[in-house]
Amino acid sequence: MSLTDPVVHDIVLVGGGGAGIRAAIAAVEADPKLTVAMVSKVYPMRSHTVSAEGGAAGVVKTENDSFDLHAFDTIKGSDFISDQDAVEAFVKEAPRELLQLEHWGCPWSRDPDGRVATRTFGGMSTPRTLFAADKTGFHMLHALFQTSLKYDRIVRYDEQFVTSLIVHDGAVRGVTAIDLHSGKLLPIYGRAVIICTGGAGKVFPFTTNASIKTGDGMAMAYRAGVPLKDMEFVQYHPTGLPGTGILITEASRAEGGYLFNKEGDRFLSNYVPTKMELGPRDLLSRAIIEEMEAGRAFEGKHGQYVHLDLTHLGEKKINERLPFVRELATKYVGIDPVKQPIPIRPVVHYCMGGIDTDINGATPLRGLYAAGEVACVSINGANRLGSNSLTECLVFGAWAGKHAAQYVRQGGSDSSPAPESIARDEWARIERTYLQDHKNGERIATIRHEMQDAMEKGCGVYRNGETIQAARDKLLTLRERYGRISIDDRNRVFNTDLTAAIELDFMLDIALAMAEGALRRTESRGAHQRRDHKGRNDQQFLTHTIAHRTEDGPRLEYRPATITRWQPEERKY
């Protein structure tokens, strides 16, 4: 294997999902001259955005809603460590982006009077979530993708596996990518790079995330000296199917589904009595875990679970409003929700943390931008509200693209190419680490399973110092063992052993940043719940955790969250 001839564009975009394509369109619209390389390990229409079912939030009906209300719901949902200036900017831009997407062909569902239909989502105090039947993410991505095809200045590099950022003289200059078709390393140079690679749910064993969600972009930026922010906040979705992690959409609760424990109690009355099933995800996930620990959950082959009951909604409503849920339950657990309740358990769903960015998507590394789940602006704080993230992809994807274009127009990172030695060194590292003989080395799958197990035990819905410390110690051991991995496949083309090994390398860095952040945050806030430090500590932790990568593990510092108009208060529903 070897290097292939480099290619040069103005902007290099890594990731082809919702945020990435939105960023690419914004960049080429901002400047009629520049070209964007859209580099993705899978084809864009296979990005994880397609899996979003529920919807995208924005104030589109003003009779019972306002920007302030959307902002407050988001800030309260975040347990008061979102940056309020970012949230205010986000909610104001959201309706424009949602309308823009309709103009690009996204078929938002309609009410009988022809107005766009909205539904209530957990933690939102009024119906403000737009949806496109039960395939919102697919329709959004499709509209974005089709729009991107109009621009021949967006040049796609599909099935290119990005391994590192090229950084020179304190600025990003491009990326190195394994061309999976040839097995060669392709340097792609640019004067700005935008990372939109999504989250890292695969760090955990039970997740709604597809297998591609391995935190690649977060880890690449982290290694290039860019801090990760608020990594300890990992959202569990309360209603995943046991065994597979398949998501049963929140719409099933929005349409009137109930949660029951094995004693037949609608147990949320003891936890979130005013919101019940429409409470925010973190509170519902915790309630389910509490029921499990109290012995009031069912025991099954894949562990404990409770019931999501839709039977009272009737076949007609289920077919009309939740056909996807009926199919998933029937196909994956063999249960027809018209007749029987669905077994569910909390499963990892979303990373609130990510690459440290400002409102424009800019990171502390000159020329590097990020948007979508990979980034932490932060509007989600300690807990994201359902349906804010699709809108986040649009709003911050557009801003990242626009500002990257502006940066390039103003000169960008030096247009002279970075030294070729950077790409050569990267190739030498890959060969040395993975492709030379390491007989009887460690197995990738073994280390991956042990990492996922450690994260489930140490950084699950509830945590305490002891369990987090154990997870952290385990991760350090796994990191050391990773140095001795061996892979069997020495083929050049589509070497899935090699890509799995590199993804695992990325995930180990991400997992360690999550565990370190969780260990040091000695309070409970949003998705981070410490049994040994109950309740929020606003005196000390109204802050973002900023993790820097060092050879000895993450080095943490703290930055105050931005408060504009909403003072922290008790988060009750």
Partner: protein, 105 residues
């Protein structure tokens, strides 16, 4: 092509079975486990063509929301559908229990 898959082609298929939908990941992983080593000829090219469809198109075919217009694909689609067997043991789901619905405040 009538020969069985070489490593390179098998890896290419494995990569192209990595999708945006977890549901598809699971079905296609099962499909590969079960059929990869005996895919060739018409079946192989049908599967390769199906993988070029969008996630939702494949998913709709697998769960029989749509039917394949091209009859050449029918057999492979059927094999894919057979990989959608439940992952869960349903005996213990406590059907028919008495549920208590509290008065809401």
């Amino acid at each position: 092509m009538n020969t069985l898959l070489d490593t390179e082609e098998r890896n290419r298929l494995r990569w192209q079975c990595r999708r945006g939908l977890l549901e598809l990941d699971l079905v296609l992983e099962r499909f590969l486990e079960k059929h990869c080593n005996r895919l060739h000829g018409e079946h192989l090219s049908s599967f390769q063509t199906l993988l070029t469809y969008t996630d939702n198109e494949i998913w709709d075919l697998i769960r029989a929301r749509t039917e394949c217009r091209d009859v050449r694909f029918a057999e492979v689609v059927q094999w894919m559908r057979e990989c959608l067997a439940p992952h869960f043991d349903v005996e213990d789901t406590a059907v028919g229990q008495t549920r208590k619905i509290p008065d809401l405040p």
